[in-house]
């Protein structure tokens, strides 16, 4: 192969890559917090079959899980302005991530709630726990603890999926990569370094989530 690798022009722009990576992480944090909030709400509604909300959430989950994230993003960014909803690129990116994770986590957390034995709730009632206390300590926490590995993988998938947000000019990591390679024409080197960054971020986020899960969900207080 006659090709001479040259990483120097890419490394000269390392600050842009790091800024992009930081923005990807910020999008992920906001998307995760809001997405999981929707997930908990949806899971409760679905698990207890609270109509008509249960049907609405059911349709939402199927719709989102059976269409690509990229199309959801384009629909939000290019399609919604027709309804008068005009979002900035980062708002559209966050909204798409929240809606996407919300649908997946609804299904995941619902599975966790369904796996809580009925006897647990009866025991909670026997201990004179209020309904809210019982929900919090006997249903939600153990349910989240059960499905935390699945939720963690989904969060990582959403973070990696956010790479396509560069297509609506959200200035995250892959946008930075596109920008750099368009100026130095070192496409392969740029994307190689970017891919490594994504890999490190995925590993880091997975570790962090495992630690958080241990501390908040599985740890004894």
């Amino acid at each position: 192969m006659a090709y001479q690798f040259d990483f120097a022009p890419v490394l000269a722009q390392a600050d842009l890559l790091l800024k992009g990576a930081l923005f990807t992480l910020q999008l992920t944090v906001v998307g995760t917090v809001l997405g999981l909030a929707i997930g908990v709400l949806g899971a409760v509604v679905r698990a207890w079959r609270l109509q008509p909300f249960s049907a609405v959430f059911g349709a939402y989950v199927e719709l989102i899980r059976n269409t690509p994230f990229l199309v959801q993003l384009f629909f939000i960014f290019f399609g919604l302005p027709a309804l008068g909803v005009r979002l900035s690129e980062w708002e559209a990116a966050v909204l798409a991530m929240v809606i996407n994770l919300g649908a997946y986590s609804t299904e995941i957390i619902r599975a966790g709630i369904m796996a809580i034995p009925k006897g647990q709730l009866e025991a909670a009632a026997a201990l004179a726990m209020s309904r809210f206390e019982a929900f919090r300590h006997v249903i939600l926490r153990p349910a989240l603890a059960k499905v935390w590995p699945a939720l963690s993988s989904q969060i990582v998938i959403v973070m990696l999926g956010s790479a396509v947000c560069s297509q609506i000019a959200t200035e995250e990591l892959s946008f930075a990569a596109n920008f750099i390679q368009s100026r130095n024409f070192r496409a392969f080197e740029t994307y190689l370094l970017t891919t490594v960054l994504y890999l490190l971020m995925a590993i880091g986020v997975r570790q962090l989530l495992a630690w958080l899960g241990q501390r908040w969900l599985m740890g004894r207080r």
Binding site: E62, T67, P68, F69, V71, F74, V156, T195, L199, A202
Partner: protein
Amino acid sequence: MDFTLWDIVRNLLAGLQWTLLLSLVAFVCGGVAGLLLLLARISDNPYLRGLARGYIELFQGTPLLMQLFMVFFGIALFGIDVSAWMAAAIALTLFTSAFLAEIWRGCVESIGRGQWEASGSLALSRLEQLRYVILPQAMRIAIAPTVGFSVQVVKGTAVTSIIGFTELTKTGGMLANATFEPFLTYGLVAVGYFILCYPLSLSARYLERRLHAPA
């Protein structure tokens, strides 16, 4: 030039064909590669095992978009002119093989140790054990999650629009620009994917339920 609704739908259907074809190619080739990867992942050789693990970790830990770019620009380094279609098929095959190998590994590992020991004591070689004892049982468990993953493959093909492969999403983007009706066009694109994916999701759920039903 004016576009009727039928013009939009007709063009989207043409794009849908390419989405379908790419999904099939990626799924079939990814399945074959995934099987080889699975054999490496559960082999006795620690180097082979480590290599397979690294491969899977790489493809599960990076965005599909970056994998596409790496293939697209990586092959070009060898002086080979690679089409968007070729790059898309290769990248999606690699992506699919990593996920399928990991799903199937879980299925193989759910087969009890006793099955390995029993077949080993019958003097079957490792490959024979897999071929005649382990895989037939693991395959039964694997069907539902494999069908479920096919949904991810179909959805993954949308990303190939970014390197210029004219499938459903790319067609939708061009139509949205030509008709100034992004709401309608992207809505229809979403419907197109839903029509492809929903039956797969339903069958995955049905197969899973049938498997877990008491015999």
